[in-house]
């Protein structure tokens, strides 16, 4: 796709994507939804393998060695991981 765009537009798209990903909006979304699903009891009704996968995702979010995830998100992910 980048080959069909002029260089300046391609650079802008890369910059914007980088900002979106590093902003951590997807991490926040997943943590919020998993937290809500636990509160209303939906999480427990999921298949154990699916639960395990979601918890594994949360575990990766709160990995202290991960430099991509912001500190605030790590803390919240850890809180939700322990509760769930």
């Amino acid at each position: 796709m980048l080959g069909r765009l002029v260089d300046s537009t391609g650079k802008q798209v890369l910059q914007r994507l980088n900002r979106i990903v590093r902003g951590g909006v997807f991490y926040k979304l997943q943590i919020d939804w998993l937290d809500d699903s636990h509160k209303i009891g939906l999480f427990k009704s999921l298949h154990p393998e699916v639960q395990n996968e979601y918890l594994d995702t949360l575990h990766h979010f709160c990995d202290p060695n991960s430099q991509l995830v912001k500190q605030g998100i790590k803390k919240r992910a850890g809180d939700v991981y322990r509760v769930v």
């Binding site: 796709m1 069909r4 765009l5 537009t9 798209v13 994507l17």
Partner: protein, 174 residues
């Protein structure tokens, strides 16, 4: 003596010409009284609204059927159409309704004043403002997706970068 007579004749001719002119003006005025005068309106079509903005609208755009038109049926509109230059904008909608055998619907219960697009910006509630913003973003997204479908990716990405939110850029990329 001859000069005086010539002067008098000249004055008489002038007065008769003035009388004729006044008479013709009166005749014209009488004829004009029977010509229907179309009131100028600032916003008659959606194109005008798009050009001038949503606000300051005195009446709903006439490109669509109005509530009273729907209640009365389309036939009266079609009968009046050729006689008035203002009503021709209503006629295409009415013609469309007749061609597609659409039945007249009762006027909606909501009054026209509830349309947020017709309100003054100061009267808009938070929800109204959000709704207008969403409608503008949706229109922008339609334009972006149209460019993408036509494989005009440069224009599509430029629009997504400059006029739309992050989510629309992601949607375009996906």
């Amino acid at each position: 003596m001859i000069e005086e007579l010539a002067q008098a004749l000249h004055e008489q001719q002038q007065s008769s010409q003035e009388e004729q002119l006044q008479q013709s003006i009166k005749n014209l005025d009488q004829k004009l009284e029977h010509v229907p005068q179309a009131k100028p309106r600032r916003f008659d079509t959606y194109a005008d609204i798009a050009r001038h903005g949503y606000f300051g609208v005195e009446k709903q755009p006439t490109g669509m059927l109005q509530n009273e038109d729907v209640a009365n049926g389309v036939e009266p509109i079609l009968q009046q159409w050729p006689q008035s230059p203002v009503q021709h904008e209503v006629a295409p909608a009415a013609q469309y309704a007749r061609m597609n055998h659409l039945q007249p619907q009762p006027p909606s219960a909501a009054p026209k004043e509830d349309n947020p697009l017709l309100k003054h910006p100061k009267e808009l509630s938070y929800v109204d403002k959000k709704m207008i913003k969403n409608e503008k973003l949706s229109a922008t997204w339609l334009q972006i997706s149209k460019h993408a479908l036509n494989q005009e990716y440069q224009r599509a990405y430029e629009m997504a970068l400059t006029q739309a939110d992050d989510i629309y850029l992601l949607r375009l990329i996906m």
